[in-house]
């Protein structure tokens, strides 16, 4: 039985429909990441689960309870906000104890719970401080601590790292991953950052315009994207696309031959299987999957070279029709701007959309 289940969830603000028929099952203990560009409805979806927005249509089940008409506090969820939303006039202890006090829990138990949460997050020394006296990372931890003490069925994180600087973001990300392993609580995490999604998730849900594009394990999505949007959204640098048409479609419809402006190649996995022969398609190749090969089929002129230390990213345009594309490698190469390089790729790693 799924821990969280969304059935035909719809949400509209006035006439604009922001969530379309979302169906989703989240298993107990799973770490699910909602990812998508801004405005895709991922935060709205999270707020619907939290009960901060009312459903226009559909059902949400959390821990076998239909929560459609329950207030947020009765849904067994705890939420960490992007802005932390700490109560500025209360000490860290009182911030964490606030919900327990409201439940009417006795003082010793509150103290015990807060202390154990503080211990998990290694912030026992901060309990008497006020939020104003904390750094960004510490505030973030208090916000997480406030969620932990409630002992929820589901943790909801709404872009919790976007207010932190890059270094702290990485550390906190690792900490959240560890925390999830330690507590094993079902977690729903919203982010627009595909790196966070890839590293944290057991399951990624890619959203676009209020619709689920694809849901699944990170590497599944990375290797077998269900559509062009997912393919482009996941992975850094972004996937390269080359325009062309289907020259031949084989009987099983799973593979096709590609004929493009720049090159032709046979027997490529066809993702958009409804497309027919001579339909317009795009061939997607990840920058990492290109390799320099004098006998290759893509000729590109180097426009810019970015050396990131571990990786080098080269921006190119094809010689024939000037389609921009990128090449990423970990090898140290002697390349110059303006030079023309020839690339090949493993046909099993590319997709036709």
């Amino acid at each position: 039985m799924a821990q969280v289940e969304l059935r035909n969830v719809n949400k509209s603000f006035g006439k604009t429909n922001v969530i379309h028929n979302v169906n989703l099952e989240i298993e107990k203990g799973e770490f699910v990441v909602f990812v998508g560009p801004s405005g895709c409805g991922k935060s709205t979806l999270l707020r619907l689960i939290a009960g901060l927005e009312t459903l226009s249509n559909g059902e949400i089940v959390i821990a076998d309870k239909l929560v459609k008409d329950l207030p947020p506090s009765k849904r067994g969820i705890a939420m960490v906000f992007q802005s932390y939303a700490l109560y500025p006039h209360m000490t860290v202890f009182n911030n964490m104890a606030f919900s327990l006090n409201l439940q009417g829990m006795n003082k010793t138990e509150i103290k015990q719970r807060v202390n154990s949460a503080a211990k998990i997050l290694q912030m026992e020394h901060l309990l008497e401080r006020r939020p104003a006296a904390l750094s960004g990372g510490q505030r973030q931890r208090v916000a997480i601590g406030r969620a932990i003490v409630r002992n929820p069925e589901v943790f909801l994180f709404d872009e919790p790292l976007s207010n932190l600087d890059a270094a702290l973001r990485h550390d906190t990300r690792v900490e959240i991953a560890k925390l999830h392993n330690q507590l094993g609580v079902t977690t729903i995490y919203v982010t627009h950052d595909q790196v966070e999604a890839m590293t944290l998730a057991d399951k990624i849900v890619v959203l676009k315009d209020g619709e689920v594009m694809q849901a699944g394990a990170p590497m599944d999505l990375f290797n077998n994207p269900a559509n062009e949007f997912v393919a482009e959204f996941l992975g850094s640098p972004k996937m390269n696309f080359f325009n062309g048409i289907i020259a031949f479609k084989n009987a099983g419809a799973s593979k096709a031959d590609f004929e493009g402006e720049n090159f032709e190649i046979k027997n490529i996995k066809l993702v958009s299987q409804q497309k027919e022969r001579s339909d317009f398609v795009r061939l997607g190749v990840r920058p990492q999957h290109l390799q320099i090969d004098p006998k290759g089929i893509i000729h590109g002129k180097i426009m810019l070279i970015e050396k990131l230390g571990v990786e080098t990213i080269v921006e190119l345009i094809t010689v024939k029709d000037k389609t921009p594309f990128r090449f990423a490698t970990q090898k140290m190469l002697e390349l110059k701007i303006g030079q023309v390089v020839t690339f090949s790729f493993d046909p099993s790693k590319v997709h036709l959309f």
Partner: protein, 408 residues
């Protein structure tokens, strides 16, 4: 650059225009009645030449010698409790008969200013005085002296004393009574509307109910209703209320047997109600705009934590709204403290229940020529709001929200 100088000059002018009357009030209230009547307040900061009359010694003082010495200042200050004269003696106006140089048989009336150090003939003796006021009066032979009154001009040092305050606050009950009445009116009339408005402001800011925005606009629109326009209906209302109260009292108590049952329609309570009603629109408007600006996440977080609207209001919103509450409290306090009109028409009419502005207005009649007393009362009435302001000022802590949300 020129612009800046100009704006500084304008700012300086504004400050001067506002500060001068206050200085005038305070200065005048600290001067003697005599001084307020004879010269303007601006002369009181620098030494001024003033005339005084003093007698050389007391009438009943037995004196029989050929020399009398004393000090002019001591003589003058004998009757001064509050405003001792000090400074430098300039001259004495001598008035008396002296032998006529043209006609030795006769005397002529001489009037002349005698400077320090010059000997002058007074009643046949040589009178000489110094700058510090010491004088010596010597006679050729023993004589019985009668006190002589002399007019002396003294370059007098500035002198201030709280005489008027003592008179107004201690010797007389009117000002203390008015102070107490004003507090009785002002404190509830400040606290009640703020409390009500805070609840309303929260509801307008964060609760969803049909017609919320229209009701809010309605409330804000009420700000344009002038108080004067409402006096008549309000008074009628209070009259009706008083009649009911009287009937109720007759019914429930045996007031008739002991005393009269009448309930005044104009009372402190009527003032509280009126000020509450008229303070409400602005209070709701100000507080709502403040509360609506509090981070939404705080309220959502509290909702997830299981807080009801009441708990969110009391535990989150109220503590965070202290700056707004304090600033509105100051406003409300100020205009109720200074309110004359409402108090005059709706407040209690007995003389020991009148509020400060009414007292001041009446003092204008009674103390019209005693500027120092009038000004002392005025200063007292001004000092209270200043104290309130300074006391509340510490609640205007900037960045009270710091730490709740990023950038807060």
């Amino acid at each position: 650059m020129v612009n800046r100088t100009l704006s500084n000059v304008v700012l300086g002018l504004i400050v001067i225009i506002w500060v001068v009357p206050f200085i005038a009030l305070v200065t005048t209230s600290l001067r003697s009645e005599m001084a307020t009547k004879t010269s303007g307040f601006w002369t009181s900061f620098t030494p001024t030449i003033l005339g005084h009359r003093f007698s050389t010694h007391d009438k009943n003082q037995e004196l029989k010698s050929d020399q009398l010495s004393g000090n002019i200042f001591k003589r003058i200050n004998k009757e001064q409790d509050w405003f001792p004269v000090s400074g430098m003696v300039e001259s004495i106006m001598f008035k008396g008969r002296v032998p006529d140089p043209n006609n030795p048989e006769k005397t002529v009336l001489q009037k002349k200013l005698v400077p320090v150090g010059e000997v002058m003939k007074v009643r046949g003796g040589n009178f000489i005085f110094e700058e510090n006021g010491d004088f010596i009066w010597t006679f050729p032979k023993d004589s019985k002296l009668k006190p002589k009154k002399l007019d002396v001009f003294i370059n007098q040092d500035p002198v201030f004393a709280p005489e008027a305050y003592v008179e107004v606050l201690i010797d007389n009950e009117n000002v203390p009574n008015a102070l107490i009445s004003s507090f009785i009116v002002t404190i509830p009339a400040t606290i009640i509307p703020i409390t009500i408005a805070a609840f309303a402001a929260y509801a307008f800011a964060w609760m969803r109910f049909p017609g919320r925005d229209w009701i809010f606009i309605g409330v804000v629109t009420l700000m344009i209703v002038p108080t004067q326009l409402a006096f008549l209906p309000i008074l009628q209302g209070f009259n009706g209320l008083a009649t009911w109260m009287m009937a109720l009292q007759e019914l429930l108590t045996d007031c008739e047997a002991k005393d009269s049952c009448s309930v005044p329609s104009k009372s402190f309570a009527s003032l509280w109600i009126t000020h509450t009603a008229f303070g409400q629109p602005l209070a709701i408007y100000l507080l709502r705009n403040y509360i609506v600006g509090l981070p939404k996440e705080l309220l959502e977080s509290a909702r997830i934590d299981g807080a009801s609207h009441m708990q969110i209001f009391l535990k989150i919103i109220m503590p965070l709204s202290v700056p707004a509450l304090a600033s509105f409290a100051i406003f409300q306090f100020l205009w109720i403290w200074n309110d004359l009109l409402v108090a005059l028409y709706i407040g209690p009419s007995s003389s020991d229940e009148r509020v400060f502005p009414i007292l001041l207005e009446q003092q204008l009649g009674t103390f019209g020529d005693q500027l120092h007393l009038l000004n002392a009362s005025a200063v007292i009435s001004m000092v209270i709001p200043v104290i309130v302001f300074l006391a509340m000022q510490r609640y205007f802590i900037r960045g009270l929200l710091a730490g709740s949300v990023k950038g807060g």
